[in-house]
Point group: none
Chain length 413, copies 2
């Protein structure tokens, strides 16, 4: 059976501040096509350790994936070491060099000489295109092993792996057909969600169910293997239907979409527009909405009404309301949503106010107190929420909850 080892390369990966996401991404993608990860190693930018790690792996494991060490600097040693172990030469690839030069030219810069290093390839290797950076990946096939060299930045590694490695690995694993489902939810804590659905999915060994929680988001993934596509699809559908019925409208997407993508799609579909007046999220909600390509069609404008003065002057909240209810209140959230909607003239107006901390909490309104309001053609909806955790977490949860309330309001338009 095909099994894989991962070697991550880079001295920064051996510092106390490093958190690994690349190997977790690769593990998930590999597991889904039936390839277990049997060992992971992390080495610095050090030829000796890397060489030992590579040699050890090639003796025992058919597939080796390396991460990083493909940069333009002297201390990027991956290709050199792998070439030595596999007894291959490093040669300059003219096409890659031209592509890198073009990338630099496109932004009006000369290619620094040391970037030419990134155009070196091992003889007999296949080049894996990098659409998001200068370092291409390489795939080297030999009698005993397949060795895949991937760049370190996740924004480069992830699409490269999905586009160039997954199809090839699926062929290598033979007949196995795969069918997947993803249910992306918000509003339920991981443990609450698991209590709901564990009695359902635990009855099945195939599909495999994995649950992955991030702040404000819990994904449920099902992967079924079958001898044919139809068999895999039938298996995943049987379990999927039950999961869907159990999680209801906590599911906001059945694909890898973010909540801002879902809301953006709803807005575009309904030819609706949106504006935002946000306080404690400080621009985060606008930033998430505008992170979506094409959002200029529906996102008109945002106000970061951080000071009380800006709540009055920019959003038009009556000073008396601020005095009487305080800036963090249902009334001010509703006021922000309705004022921004009317002032900008959009279908939807969103208002957010809260206490992100660490300072500013009181016994009645502790840190984590948040008021969210969404104004639409049918009136204004409001949520009063309490979030635990630090400033970052509270801001992130708040923006997630505001997007979710917007989604729910848009569902009814």
């Amino acid at each position: 059976m095909l099994s894989a080892e991962i070697i991550a390369i880079g001295s920064e990966l051996l510092t106390p501040g490093f958190t690994d996401t690349n190997s977790l991404f690769l593990t998930r993608q590999l597991n889904e096509i039936g390839i277990p990860v049997v060992m992971k190693s992390i080495v610095g930018d050090d030829e000796m350790y890397l060489e030992q790690a590579v040699r050890g792996c090639l003796d025992r494991t058919p597939l080796l994936i390396t991460i990083g060490g493909l940069g333009p600097t002297e201390d990027d040693v991956t290709k050199k070491v792998v070439a030595r172990v596999l007894k291959r030469q490093l040669v300059l690839d003219d096409d890659i060099l031209a592509t890198i030069q073009k990338r630099f030219k496109a932004r009006g810069a000369e290619m620094p000489v040391n970037n030419a290093r990134q155009a070196l390839v091992l003889t007999g290797s296949d080049v894996l295109e990098n659409r998001n950076g200068t370092a291409p990946g390489l795939w080297i096939h030999s009698d005993r092993n397949d060795v895949v060299l991937l760049p370190g930045p996740p924004s480069e590694l992830e699409p490269m792996f999905d586009n160039t490695c997954t199809p090839r690995l699926q062929k290598m694993t033979g007949t196995a057909a795969l069918a997947r489902r993803i249910y992306r939810t918000t509003g339920l804590m991981e443990s609450v969600l698991d209590t709901r659905i564990a009695p359902i999915y635990q009855k099945y060994k195939n599909p495999v169910t994995t649950i992955l929680a991030k702040p404000g988001q819990v994904d449920v993934r099902l992967t079924a293997r079958g001898k044919t596509n139809e068999e895999a699809e039938r298996l995943v559908q049987e379990l999927g239907k039950q999961i869907e019925a159990s999680l209801e409208d906590y599911i906001y997407a059945t694909s890898e979409q973010s909540l801002e993508e879902v809301v953006g799609r709803q807005l575009a579909l309904k030819q609706a527009t949106i504006s935002v007046a946000e306080s404690c999220t400080g621009g985060l909600l606008s930033a998430r909405l505008t992170s979506i390509p094409g959002s200029s069609k529906y996102f008109m404008s945002g106000m970061v009404t951080y000071s009380n003065q800006s709540k009055i002057e920019l959003a038009g909240i009556p000073p008396l309301l601020l005095d009487m209810q305080g800036a963090v209140s249902e009334e001010v959230a509703r006021g922000l949503a309705e004022c921004v909607r009317e002032k900008v003239g959009t279908t939807i107006g969103v208002g957010v106010t809260g206490i992100a901390g660490p300072d500013g909490g009181t016994p009645e309104k502790p840190v984590g107190t948040v008021h969210i309001a969404v104004a639409g053609p049918g009136g204004t909806e409001h949520r009063h929420l309490m979030f635990p955790g630090n400033r970052d977490r509270i801001r992130s949860w708040t923006s997630q909850a505001a997007l979710d309330l917007t989604r729910r309001v848009l569902m009814r338009i």
Copy 2:
């Protein structure tokens, strides 16, 4: 010099949901007493892979720390494998057995038979007391290596390491002292920066120099070792001075601070205030500024002037200017900065406009075209920039460049 490898053992560590904290804890504690971690490996509960990992390590590295695999079940194989590699016997330690029995008795339970496995020790090893669980740790000293076996749960590993390992390791490293520097830069690409400083740092084996690039940020880290603190400090200072002179004001911090922290600190120090009118960054710049605790003291308000209408109505840009110059132009960036500064009444006003893509580019103004302006008491500064990459990258680089221009303007106030 003493250096360490860490091997973490457990099949759950090879799943996509696993996040490592133990090895980061150990790395921090080891680094602080001058012991670098030169390699980390993660293996499942598998004798073959563990044995290969242990053998590989003992050949090249004086100190091996293993994490996990000390539990009472059959698949906890750490002691068995290490005993085999080091050619030692496993013998039952009566004292440990009595301690484990006592722990179970204390909570009114009988010790399960297989927990006796946890009382097995390698001949000639030192027992590391576990005050928070049943599995004691072991320290095995041989001619060439020191091997330390620690339990997996952080609540057991961390106090055990601090209480029993740190003092012993400090004795072993003797006089070794460490000194560190970090130079955090923005505005230079990694390869350009490296071309500048490689001729300087390559002359030194001590301090060790590492370079780490994130979008819009490149860190240079120096770590010097010496027999005394003074010696280490002298070594790091000698190289540090040259790096500083070479990178000049591209260095924005000499600690782990983010650019928004640095700008926030400047604003607080100078009792200055700031407001933002941003288009292509869509709220990201405001979100970064307000991510800092206490930012409500200096951040007054932000405008996300996404539509042309909002540039006119919210920020007060003359319609004629938009018509003549286009929304993405030096004049509009300056206008946004100056209008928001005046309208909100802050010391600093920042204006950002650009084309984040993927659509909206033209031959004269391609995707990635960005205009940034910062208005202050001494006038308005402007930058015209071209960024490569996708929407996310362009937005992230743009917010970084806007913060950097703000920092440079604040330096002169």
